[in-house]
């Protein structure tokens, strides 16, 4: 890999033009917190894992269009290059999508959070990306842009295609993450289980948002990370909760269905069996705690 040039555009048009150049597949970077360690490993071993041979580094971190959080068109619009630190501290996010604030605050360390971006977290498509379960629980949508045609939007549930692979087409980037504002604030919980309290890759992470009608469940969204090839929604658990009063027992019972959606693996951090136990326990716990909050 011989990187020859570096481009840091100030505007989206310029960035898309670089992406559109024929024969060029640039290495896209924003915060660098996933990419730079990957580059280090490649330098130690020799090549890129998927046979790419990029010559250009395209830095999106200063694109004004991609930084910042605002309300627009009934959505909370978060620029893809917005850092975890900014998201975790943002008053709108904390008030309207607290699961996302909690997830962003759990990424890495304060140093990492000053650089890591939500777009990067999603695009790397690691199964253990911490913001993914929270955004899935929040019903998020991603906006993609490329040189061809206009921007398109995709529910986050359709964005993760397979292990470390997203729905991005060649020449496309994520520009924004959008969370629907209707009905907010909505009760929710995020929980990350790691082997230590900071700078830890999730062993299991989960988030939920639950809406009640009186005392019965009207809507539930549960996102899970680190327990399947991609971040997933626990649809069977959600369906089982609908129309029911969520007691501790009901939560535990429905959480038992989580196993339909997960296929955890053995790795250096934990075994598949442990992940299965904890996924169920954490889902039960966040449902119970959220229901309690929603009733109050």
């Amino acid at each position: 890999m011989k990187l020859e040039s570096y481009v840091r555009p100030a505007g989206l048009e310029e960035a898309l033009a670089v992406l559109a150049r024929p024969g060029v597949r640039p290495l896209v970077v924003a915060g660098g917190t996933d990419l730079v360690p990957m580059m280090r490993k490649m330098r130690m071993n020799g090549t890129l894992p998927n046979g790419d041979d990029p010559r250009v580094v395209l830095d999106l971190s200063k694109l004004d269009d991609l930084c910042g959080i605002r309300e627009a068109g009934g959505m909370l619009e978060i620029g893809a290059a917005t850092t975890m630190g900014v998201i975790a501290a943002d008053p709108s996010v904390k008030k309207l999508v607290p699961v996302l604030a909690a997830a962003a605050a759990s990424v890495g360390s304060p140093l990492v959070r000053n650089r890591a971006t939500v777009g990067g977290n999603l695009v790397t498509a690691s199964p253990s990306a911490d913001t993914a379960p929270a955004l899935l629980a929040a019903g998020a949508v991603v906006r993609l842009a490329g040189a061809q045609g206009g921007p398109r939007e995709l529910p986050l549930t359709e964005f993760f295609v397979e292990y470390r692979k997203t729905a991005l087409q060649p020449g496309e980037i994520v520009t924004h993450v959008l969370v629907p504002l209707a009905g907010r604030p909505i009760a929710g919980r995020f929980e990350k289980v790691g082997l230590r309290n900071a700078d830890a890759i999730s062993v299991v992470c989960a988030a939920c948002e639950i809406e009640l009608d009186g005392s019965t469940c009207r809507a539930a969204r549960i996102g899970l990370g680190a327990v399947a090839a991609v971040p997933v929604r626990a649809l069977a658990v959600e369906a089982a909760l609908l129309g029911r009063e969520i007691t501790d027992d009901v939560a535990a019972e429905c959480a038992g269905l989580v196993h339909e959606h997960i296929s955890p693996i053995d790795d250096v951090r934990a075994s598949a069996r442990y992940r299965g136990w904890v996924a169920e326990a954490v889902v039960a716990r966040i449902i119970t705690d959220t229901a309690r909050e929603a009733r109050a």
Partner: protein
Amino acid sequence: MSADETPRYKVIGHAVPRHDARDKVFGQTKYADDFVVPGTLFAKVLRSKHAAAKIVSIDTSRAEAMPGVRAVLTAGDVPNNETTSKFGQTHSAGGGFEGLYRVLADKKVRYMGEGVALVAAETLAQAEEAARAVDVVYDPQPGVFDPIEALKPDAYRVGEEETNVVCAYKVRKGDVDAGFAQADVVVEGEYRVPFGDHVYLEPESGTAWIGDDGVLTIRASTQVIEHFRDIADIMGLPHNRVRVIAPMLGGGFGGKEDITVEAYLALLAYRTKRPVRLTYAREESILAHSKRHPYVMRYKTGAAKDGKLVALDAKIISDAGGYPFLSPWVLLYSVVMATGPYIIPNVKVDAVSALTNNTFTSAYRGFGAPQVCFAYESQMDELAEKLGLTPLEFRMRNYLHTGDELGTGYALESAVLTDQTAERAWEALGEPTQPRSPDEVIGRGIASGMQSYGRLVYLHDSSRAYVGFELDGSVVVRSGVQDIGGGQASSIAQITAEILGVPMDDITVYFGDTALTPLAGTTTATRMLYMSGNATLKAARTVREAIVAQASEMLEVDPERIDLADRMVRVEGDEEKSLPIVDVVKACASQGIPISNLGQFNAPSRDLEKSDCVIGQIHPDYTFGTHAAEVAVDTRTGKVTVLKLVAAFDVGQAINKLSAQGQLEGGTVCGVGYALLEDVKMDQGRTVTCALDTYLVPTAADMPDVEPIMLESRGGMGPFGAKGIGEPASTSGAPAVTNAVADAIGIRLTELPLTPERILTALKEREGSAGQAVWERVTETA
């Protein structure tokens, strides 16, 4: 007796900011990799990709032809590729305390990461590329990766000897069979502890060059500048033509106790006649340097119903990895301290260390004591439970005191305050924390430990320091002390300040240079304060005597009435009569009276006897203390949160109060990491956890405050009655936490670390639901 009382010395015992702290905080300190020499070449080590393999051939021709490459070396290029190393000692003790040091692998490799070739090039990138271009043909061998397997007669032979046994020791006292027969309760257990990495923040690093004087000079992050002798032997040079300098180190913890970069640098600098720098990447450091010994320990202890211990039987199997290094020393420590700080009339210990094709194991803070402490402190809690006594009560009935004998028969001579440390530690936990949710259980635990300070007496240890006045009244101390962050250099300045009556700021310490500073010995074995502190004390006192004698003449008073303080000579009972010390210094200098002195301190020594058993005094002295911990366990995930930590130790006499507390606090967290997080996982000799995102150490967010409690018996053998504290502070931290976890969940785990998975699995197995997918939520009781 506690360190909270008003200090009785002018400087000793005070909370003095260290002089090196200033430079470090203002970014002035130059560590090994910060030292820039013009024209430096960059080195890279090519390391074996196999844990066990024969080397069929090495072809360096491609690498040598690459751009910027100035040298490519293999074993054949080393003047003496193998030496019998004394590991920095001066005395030939025999008996396995010396061992093979091989610079580069030649006929076979014995662990993954063993150095096979060296490259020096104009840039690091060129050196890395050239290292990749060295063509090594390996013939992989089956290898052996478990010491128990390695001990079997048909096991793969790791080295060149007939067996994989590195060493074996035994301790026999009384009659354990009779002891167990008398016991009313007996507990047995098998305890396993893993490989550990030191994770000093500063990776191994150094630069070497040939000085203008033709002397081969190596400036490296090392705990042992005395390796200059081995390096000279390797190079075929006289000892007085090799110079090693140790700058301030960014941590050592025993991982920089063996030769790391020095020999490689010497070879490349000598070959290229240019300065050469070598700094390990973190992954390389974890892969290639020594690890903490994993042990399998089978313990059986028995006690009578009055709570007194009657017998202990311990079997220890240690994994020495690919090369012995300090494995015999570490195992000897374990065997001496296998009984803990307890009176046990009948003792049987059998210990063996075996070579495997795992990464070699050597010194790591605690040096064999933390491993056995985990085992014996687990046993003590189990005995207490069976007897219906609290952990504290049971221990109080069994602690050693001055005059009592260890398992080896040695009667303790210095102060032993373990019982007081235990009471203070337990008391300091205060009111129990209440569970913060229905998923949480809380537990508390204590653990007491003993840890030697000072070298094995077989090694005839000694240390030297030079103290002298300059003509303007400022003071110079020269000593080969290696400062690894514990304030080793600052302590000897503080001792000098106390004796000579000058402020710390008036003292410059020159340290860590084999050419220019009298050799102090290694910064290991918690020996620096004891050895170089005593040497400095001797030298400073000799200088003081000369000053006092001269002052007594000048002032015409008895020397007994003279004190030195605040740069002045003062006379007791007569405020009028005083003199600036500098006037006395000048007077001495004019008359040819020495105002400097080279002091040497020799530790108690013995010769190694040919004996089956380890008997008698093995170490100069021991430090005793107790850790206490309170933890919360999340019963749904198995995750442990440490809520409270206390470290209560008899430090003898704290020299620098802040430094001593710092050792207690840091040592405690080292123990907590051992208990809960740290595990170098190896798979058939391949290091799986090779970076800091998989080998986990505690962050600030994982730890509570540590409360340090220092008792001061003034009964140690160091200066002013000090005891060594660096390693003792880390020995009992882990079992305090594991005992607390056992208290919380009612299950005792016997393998470190206590990961959330291991804890949850134990909880599930007890529920009988380990195989099921359903977990019953523990409901809140009203």
